[in-house]
């Protein structure tokens, strides 16, 4: 099955590039003044965060693109080393702030794998529903900002209106609109609130006509097509070599979705398609993400149908999961576990694990190394935005400067995700 999914691109694994291109230098023509150097950012709105791009321009043509990151480096990996495992979860929210649930998910998955913790089936379904809502919310910001960058203001306003509805649902379950930290090792924080099903069902009915609106606004829009067709092509084998993943790689026709290839959290029980592009240009990536909106909605629908309003939402293993607050008044054991887990935390073995999930931007992976005690030795997140910005020279060089804006929008980067 995996072979069919991937096709023969996977076999083309070699990269025949020039190491000199990776030196991060402008060409000699810039020194003689033949080409112009231009700083884009770090405050340019269409760079989607504090990204600085040093551009070498020959007229309007990009000769060299040198991304400069690190302005949002907040030391999240270092900070998690100083916290117990469960208290590390809120920090992961702050990496990719447009889809915090995916970050929670990969961190919790790594912890669960490390300590061998079970997750109840219902909690897994809750996670899938929220992950897909989070994917839609993230794609809404992508679509809005991509269109805004290219001059289509109204799409931006529509997209943020829809995203607001999803953030309301997040606020309902976790008390926070964005940084919910709702996923915890062993399940989710609290059970679903009353009215969650109604809110999600209302969204399921509300959303499909809106996707039709976006399609009507953009898909056959001649200006949009002119700006996006054949721009920023990622060749499949080059994309693989540069570590591009997610919708950006699927736009090039590489059928690799971690939800299908190594399903987690019960994705194997859901029925959905993986949309693929053909040419790998900005337009195909746009179409892939638009199609993903409908697929995500279908997953949410299947999930909410099988989700009971109440039931188990977190593992009952009291060595790792704190007891519910209500149990503290009745059980001495519960008090002991509560006190131990919130002050000291639980021990994880002195071993290393690796977990990867499909975030809205691509493959986000977590490498977790324990110490045998209550704090990790090392946490490392490989984030899709990081790889995509690293690949920016490969995608953008040779294009016009206006196309760069379209390319930045189409690979969907978040600088908090990149710098961590």
């Amino acid at each position: 099955m995996a072979i069919e999914q991937v096709g023969d691109q996977a076999v083309k694994a070699t990269w025949e590039g020039d190491l000199n291109q990776l030196k991060g230098l402008v060409t000699e023509r810039a020194i003689t003044g033949e080409t112009m150097l231009l700083n884009m950012g770090p405050h340019h709105p269409s760079t989607h965060g504090v990204l600085r791009l040093l551009l070498e321009l020959d007229g309007e043509e990009l000769v060299t693109v040198l991304p400069d990151v690190g302005f949002l480096h907040t030391g999240i990996e270092k900070n998690i080393e100083d916290k117990t495992y469960e208290k590390g979860v809120p920090l992961t929210d702050r990496m990719d702030y447009l889809s915090p649930m995916s970050n929670n998910m990969v961190f919790c998955m790594a912890i669960e794998k490390m300590i061998g913790l079970d997750v109840p089936e219902r909690a897994q379904t809750i996670r899938v529903v929220l992950l897909e809502l989070s994917r839609i919310a993230s794609h809404m910001v992508w679509l809005g900002t991509q269109a805004l960058d290219m001059g289509a203001m109204s799409v931006f306003l529509y997209c943020f209106r829809e995203r607001e509805k999803i953030l309301r649902i997040f606020e309902m379950v976790s008390g926070q609109r964005m940084m919910g930290s709702y996923f915890r090792p062993g399940g989710v924080w609290r059970d679903l609130p009353d009215g969650f099903h109604d809110a999600v069902n209302e969204f399921i009915d509300y959303f499909p006509p809106k996707v039709d609106d976006y399609e009507a606004l953009l898909v056959k829009n001649p200006i949009w097509i002119d700006r996006t067709h054949g721009v920023g092509v990622i060749e499949p084998d080059l994309g693989l070599a540069w570590g591009v993943s997610g919708p950006s790689l699927r736009g090039s026709g590489v059928n690799w979705d971690i939800r299908k290839s190594s399903p987690y959290s019960g994705y194997e029980t859901f029925d959905f398609d993986v949309p693929l592009g053909e040419h790998g240009d900005v337009y195909d990536r746009f179409m892939v993400r638009l199609a993903e909106l409908r697929q995500s909605l279908s997953i949410i629908k299947q999930g909410i149908d099988r989700l009971e309003p109440t039931g188990p939402f977190r593992s009952e293993n009291r060595k790792f999961v704190p007891p519910p607050r209500s149990a503290l008044g009745q059980s001495m054991e519960a008090v002991i576990h509560h006190f131990k887990l919130w002050t000291q935390g639980f021990d994880a073995p002195d071993e290393e694990v690796f977990a990867a999930v499909e975030s809205p931007r691509g493959e986000i992976s977590c490498y977790l190394h324990g110490t045998g005690e209550t704090r990790p030795r090392r946490v490392h997140f490989k984030t899709p935005s990081f790889m995509h910005i690293a690949a920016m020279p490969m995608i953008a060089e040779g294009h016009m400067i206006a196309d760069l804006i379209a390319i930045i929008g189409s690979v969907d980067i978040v600088l908090g995700d990149c710098d961590r």
Binding site: D8, T14, G24, G75, A241, E352, S365, Y367, K382, A390
Partner: protein, 190 residues
């Protein structure tokens, strides 16, 4: 198109590289192969190009610091699973889309002068991943084309992700108190 049947990566690497495979362990269905630092490029190239393996995608390169005392002679022997000859570890996570499996290849770098050969010639994706490690963990990558810092400012002292680097909680530095702050920082003097 004929696709070669998958073969066991551990056996293949052991057969090809013999004594250069230092240790193999499996934890939670994840296989780790520890090889000698000098031959990491050959090992990765072998895993990438051999029919039946084809690990074609570089998922991640991460580093780990075993400071202060979880490595070396004092720690060997204690538990056979934890093979840690040197202070720094570099873990390469590679993924085979064809056979849908992952593998971790690990090398170790000594404390005094941590140097690991670069694999940027195999995958350009390694470019920034290695720069990040060189910046934050201080492991140098021999042959890397771009040795500038990636995350931290160029004039930053020390490597923040090392375990002996102090963890935050410092006064914000202004021009009026810079002298006093630097006098408290042993690392800034080096």
């Amino acid at each position: 198109m004929q696709i070669a049947p998958p073969i066991d990566p551990v056996e293949a690497v052991e057969e090809q590289f013999g004594d250069d495979v230092l240790h193999v362990k499996t934890f939670r269905d994840e296989t780790t192969i520890v090889v000698t630092t000098e031959r990491i490029v050959e090992v990765i190239q072998f895993l990438r190009s051999t029919p039946g393996l084809i690990y074609n995608y570089l998922s991640d390169i991460s580093s780990v610091d075993y400071y202060p005392n979880d490595y070396g002679d004092a720690y060997d022997g204690q538990d056979e699973r934890n093979y840690r000859p040197e202070r720094f570890g570099v873990a390469y996570h590679i993924y085979s889309m064809l056979y849908n499996r992952r593998l971790r290849v690990k090398v170790f770098a000594m404390e005094e002068d941590p140097v690991v050969p670069t694999i940027v010639g195999l995958w350009p994706a390694a470019n920034w991943l290695e720069r990040e490690i060189a910046d934050l963990m201080g492991i140098q990558f021999d042959g890397h084309p771009d040795k500038r810092r990636l995350m931290m400012p160029e004039d930053w002292d020390g490597h923040p992700l090392r375990r002996d680097y102090p963890m935050g909680k410092e006064t914000v530095q202004f021009s009026f108190n810079v002298e006093e702050i630097i006098s408290h920082k042993p690392l800034a003097k080096d």
